[in-house]
Amino acid sequence: MSDITKTGFLNSAELREAGRYPSEERLAKGPTAVIECCQNIPCNPCETACRFGAITVGDPITNLPVLDESKCVGCGVCITKCPGLAIFVVDKSKDMATVSFPFEYLPLPEKGDTVKAVDRAGQYVCDARVLRVNNAPANDSTPIVTIEVPKELSDDIRSIRRLNLSEEDEKAELLKIDDWSAVPDDLVVCRCEEVTAGDIKKAIAEGAATVEGIKKRTRAGMGLCQGRTCSKLVSRILGSQTGMKADEIKPDTARMPIKPVSFGVYKE
């Protein structure tokens, strides 16, 4: 089984293997919810959303939802209630299958449109016809789009390409760079005072052992933002140069004013 923390999803074969996919028998009878929630996160709105009692999470709420396919009528109310948008409805009872999925992008497709159906990785699978677009108030701005697709593709199709995308696909171009170093010394660390990684490394080499000591030697953190942006970066360089652990590197001293305030407003 693939690692969902690397892919972001399980495919239909993997879901089946894990016993988390409705049976072919049930899908052939009519619309059925497919719950693709695969991590034990504390969440259970799907359970209360189903008025047929077909979904059970139970206690603790980190349990994975379990579908009782005999009770599910495929109404799709759970689709809009799932905060993770991980529930779909598939129907293989007719010649062509239908897939219903949440679709929160504008513009919405319209009934009868031909759209590009995509799989869980966003890859194009086939063209598909839009059967329904349900954007009822009860959906709370999570429209449900239902498309018609060939049965054998219906387990993999989970969305459509957004309608406002241009055709050109972004292809990362491989580029060879011969010479580089991970943290170049001329890299700016403190933007306000324009202090570089090299300046900070030099200060550490000269004995600075605290964020405060680096600040005094380089001015890193003395500017308008008072270290808001760079203090963590400075801590990291200090740690990597000296081997100090993160909990040995104290934050810099807190001083008034926490945010800049003009003399005119500050005065008595």
Binding site: G207, G213, K216, R255, M256, P257, V261, G264, Y266
Partner: protein, 388 residues
């Protein structure tokens, strides 16, 4: 086996570093011991004024001139690092005609002492300082000396000390001082090991009394707090170091109320100093205090005072405030002295003039240890002068 050196300097601020510098320069083996990082105490929380402007006439002014020339010599000829030395003179402002008359008197006294200064009228003053409030009457311009960044000065001194062969032990806490049977200094005990030595210089600033106690020497140094506000660097407030003369006329015995009473209570006066990084430091205050958190009432009154002199600063941002603790002596003069314990020297109590006085103080201590004649009359700086 403990290490053995000619002298141990306790304290890594400007005073301690100046002492270590002079001892190393004069060929003595020296270790400077500092509980934290270098320049982490009062020297990091002060302004960098080295102008001769408000010292008492006569001997004190002459000593100050000598001190400033030592600083200048160090900065220009000895140190290898830039310390943001700025040499474009300073103004002491007179708010009205009455103060202007007082200023004239001060200017004359200084001129008699040979200090380079002159009176500047309102027109010339406002040309030089366009943001100054229109009603400011005039100023004394002092052109002898300059200003620097005390932090950069300290680190540069530290590097010089090491270059001269001196050793600096940071993050090392002195836990005691052992004396020989004859009462003289023998060994400095620290949390990182002992150091055998015949000479110990207590340059621990506001913490010097604690070191003195280790050998039974009572050092009457107390803490005199001062707050500083830092203005953002996008706006240029003044073109040079500027302070007010009026502060000197708020004497403790005057009965004042309202704002003036707050100024009197906390010793609040106006000064502004452009730094090498284009920020403006705004001062000052002077009152007993033992913590380095800034006082809200005081810093607010300081902000108000700054607006009185530079109205445009009302729209400039304060990005930070900090407070420093001046090592204060009962007569406002430093203690640069031998003590009843042979080999134990005190170099402390510089009362807010430590940056300017540091290098000279170090030189004087070195002269004492080497048994040479001092450049100045040392009675004035003797620890035991307060006993009479």
């Amino acid at each position: 086996m403990s290490k053995s050196v000619d002298a141990v300097v306790i304290g890594g601020g400007i005073i301690g570093l100046s002492n270590a510098y002079w001892l190393a320069k004069r060929g003595l083996s020296v270790v400077l011991v500092e509980a934290g990082d270098l320049v982490a105490g009062t020297s990091a929380r002060c302004d960098g004024n080295n102008y001769i402007c408000d010292t008492a006439p006569g001997e004190i002014t002459q000593t100050m001139r000598l001190a400033v020339s030592e600083v200048e010599n160090l900065v220009k000829n000895e140190l290898d690092e830039d310390v943001d030395w700025i040499e474009n003179g300073m103004f002491t402002l007179a708010e009205d005609e009455e103060q202007f008359e007082q200023a004239k008197k001060q200017c004359r006294e200084k001129q008699e002492d040979g200090v380079k200064c002159r009176m500047v009228d309102s027109r010339e003053l406002h040309e030089a300082e366009p943001h100054l409030a229109p009603d400011i009457y005039g100023a004394i311009e002092f052109t002898e000396g300059g200003s620097l960044s005390p932090i950069l000065f300290g680190f540069a001194l530290g590097k010089k000390v090491e270059k001269l062969g001196g050793e600096i032990q940071r993050f090392t806490r002195v836990t005691g001082i052992e004396r020989n049977p004859d009462g003289s200094v023998g060994k400095v005990l620290t949390d990182k090991g002992d150091i055998l030595t015949k000479n110990v210089i207590d340059a621990a600033g506001v913490w010097s009394p604690g070191i003195g106690k280790m050998v039974g020497v009572d050092i009457p140094v107390t803490m005199m707090k001062g707050d500083i506000l830092v203005a953002e660097s996008d706006v240029k407030v003044s073109n040079r170091y500027v302070c007010e003369i009026g502060y000197n006329f708020l004497r403790n015995d005057m009965k004042l109320d309202g704002e003036d009473a707050v100024r009197q209570k906390y010793g609040i006066g106006f000064l502004t100093e452009p730094t090498g990084a284009d920020n403006s430091l705004i001062g000052f205050s002077k009152y007993p205090g033992t913590d380095t958190g800034t006082n809200f009432e005081v810093t607010r009154a300081m902000a108000k005072r700054a607006i009185r002199f530079y109205p445009m600063i009302a729209d400039v941002n304060i990005i930070r405030t900090y407070a420093g603790l001046r090592p204060w002596s009962p007569d406002h003069e430093p203690i640069i002295s031998k003590t009843a314990v042979p080999g134990f020297y005190v170099c402390s109590g510089h009362c807010g003039s430590g940056i300017a006085y540091g290098p000279l103080s170090g030189k004087l201590i070195a002269q004492m240890i080497l048994g040479e004649a001092a450049d100045v009359n040392m009675d004035r700086y003797n620890l035991y002068r307060f006993n009479n």
